[in-house]
């Protein structure tokens, strides 16, 4: 099965990277998070409540909504900050030359395999952010770019909303024994679909091919 893939490209300042990644990833995770499942004896289950909160950006003219879960905020902040630092350190090493990198949010499901083969993670939705760091000369340019990046991210958020609501594949609601194969049950107050965040400084391909997919599956399987 091929995962549904979407690539976003943008050029922005180094200090805007962390907020840009956070705004888009939190929007995605907000859509892909359910309340905690509580199964009952007869197989029925109840679902908890997902709270949300507004978040203002400091370097981008944008306010976005995210799950009001501290655990999720820490995970996204950690990855986004690490990616931002990675890009900016490379920019410093190359003395201000334009640097690019990518960070991906992948939703996957785990498929158990028969012994002795390990289970495998099969991505079903991948969101890639390809970013290029720019160096702006004046404060006026920075102010203009603050608004421009805000508008750009707003367009992405609108696209995410429209995309999420189209009829597309989403893993079926599992039974209790298979809950961990579809959802991340490690959170206390929420239950997002299984996801992982990865990043690198080399450009990523816009579409999958068979070789890349196999290599990635093997890599993901061995890493988890």
């Amino acid at each position: 099965m091929n995962a549904r893939t979407q690539v976003f490209e943008m050029a922005l300042e180094g200090r805007q990277v962390e907020e840009a990644v956070s705004s888009l990833f939190h929007t995605l995770l907000f859509h892909r998070t359910l309340g905690k499942f509580h199964y009952q004896q007869d197989g029925k289950y109840t679902v908890g409540t997902v709270g949300y909160e507004d978040t203002d950006c400091d370097f981008v003219d944008l306010t976005y909504v995210r799950c009001s879960s501290g655990e999720m905020q820490r995970i996204v902040h950690k990855e986004a900050t690490a990616f931002s630092e990675c890009l900016r350190s490379q920019e410093r090493e190359t003395q201000g030359q334009a640097r690019s990198g990518h960070i991906s949010l992948t939703f996957y499901q785990t498929k158990k395999a028969r012994w002795p083969f390990p289970s495998e993670n099969i991505p079903w939705e991948v969101w890639n952010l390809r970013m290029e760091i720019m160096t702006l000369a004046s404060e006026i340019e920075r102010q203009l770019y603050r608004e421009k990046v805000g508008e750009l991210l707003a367009e992405k958020i609108l696209y995410i909303a429209e995309s999420m609501n189209r009829p597309s594949y989403v893993p079926k609601m599992p039974n209790q024994p298979e809950l961990d194969l579809i959802f991340d049950t490690g959170f206390v107050d929420i239950q997002p679909y299984l996801f992982k965040i990865s990043y690198g400084t080399s450009p990523v391909l816009g579409s999958f091919n068979m070789g890349t997919t196999v290599r990635r599956l093997l890599k993901d399987t061995l890493s988890i």
Partner: protein, 452 residues
């Protein structure tokens, strides 16, 4: 209670293949989808940051497993708009209109959110959790998108002194927003009783064009000048949350709407305690700027100035002003000269007689103080003068109170001046040879000096 688990009883089959229980369930879903959609849109325009907690165990009022709190007034307005009817195929869309209103009373529609229903795209034979979860997803999308439109930024800058944002809930076709508009479909949910879609239309530019019948406004016309002087609030959300009690879904709460008109726009302004929020007029009659009604004031002008009588305030008082430029006949000048000095006026009379034939009334005399226009204060005596002010220092003081009536040098007849100059020129012409010899002598002397 909204639960993911459903149990059905075979009590009957509806026309769409659902049981009676399933039919009631789906109708309840649609009803609360409408309610929650209006809630999240209105709450996003309060100008306040929203923060609701995640709960491992849901509360009975947490429809669609989302932490959306209910404002009772919004619940009432939504019910009024729906008139107790279910939003079904063939019924007009449920619209939430967000508009901006200035302190001058002008209003501008910023965006329209519409929940419409059409024929379902695929047949349903049972109600599954998928419909419920997709409705939840649709609400999440509405929540996310409501923060990216221009109206959201304006909501954070509103105040009672500049402008406020208002909302209107109604069933019907939304009003047009002009040419600079963006339309987008947020999402769709296919249900057994119809395909429900949420559409958003919003202005991309707040500047009005003359085509709208109004004057041009800068795109930052409604921006706040300073943020520390205003407390931008759209609704007393905290007060309303304190006031509400019991069933938060609004079915058992007292209606707090102050206007029973369905088309009235609800004004939410967190004005200081004791201040009455401005009354609202029918928004249908004020959906466009109108600058035809009398004088207007700037967006940030003091509104109390509109109630003052400008004409009385700016009317200049009638003050006695001296006549600075007065045209007098020479005869009047003569009389004043005789009155002021009493000395010999022979020279003056001579000048007056010579010029009497030429001009009479066209000479400007400079600043003249007309004694008739002033009240002489007798108590003021000339300093250092004797008791009688008609002699010496007193007379001199009076003469110097104003400029002389006429200066003799400016009263010389032009004819006399012409004669004098003419005779001088004739004399120069006679002496021309002598002047030439002088110049030549000076030139020869210089050459001899240079040679030496």
């Amino acid at each position: 209670m909204a639960t993911a688990a459903m149990s059905y009883q075979s009590s009957g089959i509806t026309s769409v293949g659902l049981t009676i229980q399933e039919q009631k369930e789906i109708e309840k879903y649609v009803k609360f989808l409408s309610q929650k959609m209006v809630q999240v849109i209105v709450q996003s325009r309060l100008g306040e940051k929203v923060c609701t907690p995640c709960k491992a165990n849901a509360s009975p009022s947490d429809w669609f497993n989302l932490g959306i709190e209910d404002i009772p007034e919004v619940v009432v307005e939504t019910k009024k708009a729906l008139k107790g009817q279910l939003l079904a195929i063939g019924s007009p869309p449920l619209c939430v209109e967000i508009s901006l209103k200035t302190v001058e009373g002008d209003s501008l529609i910023l965006e329209n959110w519409c929940l419409s229903v059409n024929e379902t795209s695929e047949p349903f034979n049972r109600l599954s959790y998928t419909v419920y979860s997709r409705m939840s997803l649709l609400l999440k999308s509405i929540i996310s998108v409501s923060r990216i439109t221009p109206a959201y930024k304006l909501s954070g800058r509103q105040g009672a002194d500049s402008f406020v944002l208002c909302y209107r809930v109604f069933c019907g076709e939304p009003h047009g927003l002009g040419t600079s508009t963006k339309n987008c479909t947020i999402g769709q949910v296919d249900t057994p009783i119809g395909l429900y879609s949420v559409l958003l239309s919003y202005r991309t530019q707040l500047a009005l064009s003359p085509k709208d019948g109004a004057m041009l406004v800068k795109s930052d016309h409604f921006d706040h000048l300073t943020t520390d002087q205003y407390s931008p609030r759209f609704c007393r959300a905290a007060d309303r949350r304190r006031d509400k009690g019991g069933d938060s879904s609004g079915s058992g709460s007292e209606p707090v709407a102050s206007d029973d008109s369905q088309e009235a726009c609800r004004l939410f302004v967190n004005s200081p305690p004791g201040n009455k929020a401005p009354d609202y007029q029918n928004v249908l009659q004020q959906n466009r700027f109108s600058f035809d009604d009398g004088p207007k004031f700037g967006a940030f002008a003091d509104p109390s100035s509109a109630r003052r009588n400008l004409s009385s305030e700016f009317m200049l008082p009638e003050l006695p002003l001296p006549t600075f430029m007065k045209i007098q006949s020479l005869k009047d000048v003569k009389k004043e000269q005789e009155r002021a000095s009493g000395g010999s006026n022979a020279a003056i009379q001579k000048d007056v007689e010579i010029t009497d034939d030429s001009t009479q009334l066209t000479t400007s005399l400079g600043p003249v103080s007309n004694s008739d226009e002033f009240v002489m204060v007798e108590s003021l005596k000339t300093p250092f003068a004797e008791g009688d002010s008609s002699h010496d220092v007193g007379a001199f003081f009076r003469e110097c109170q104003s400029a002389p009536v006429s200066l003799q040098s400016f009263n010389r007849p032009s004819g006399m001046a012409t004669l004098e100059i003419g005779s001088q020129l004739e004399q120069f012409e006679k002496d021309l040879e002598g002047y030439d010899d002088l110049v030549q002598s000076l030139g020869i002397g210089a050459d001899e000096g240079g040679k030496q």
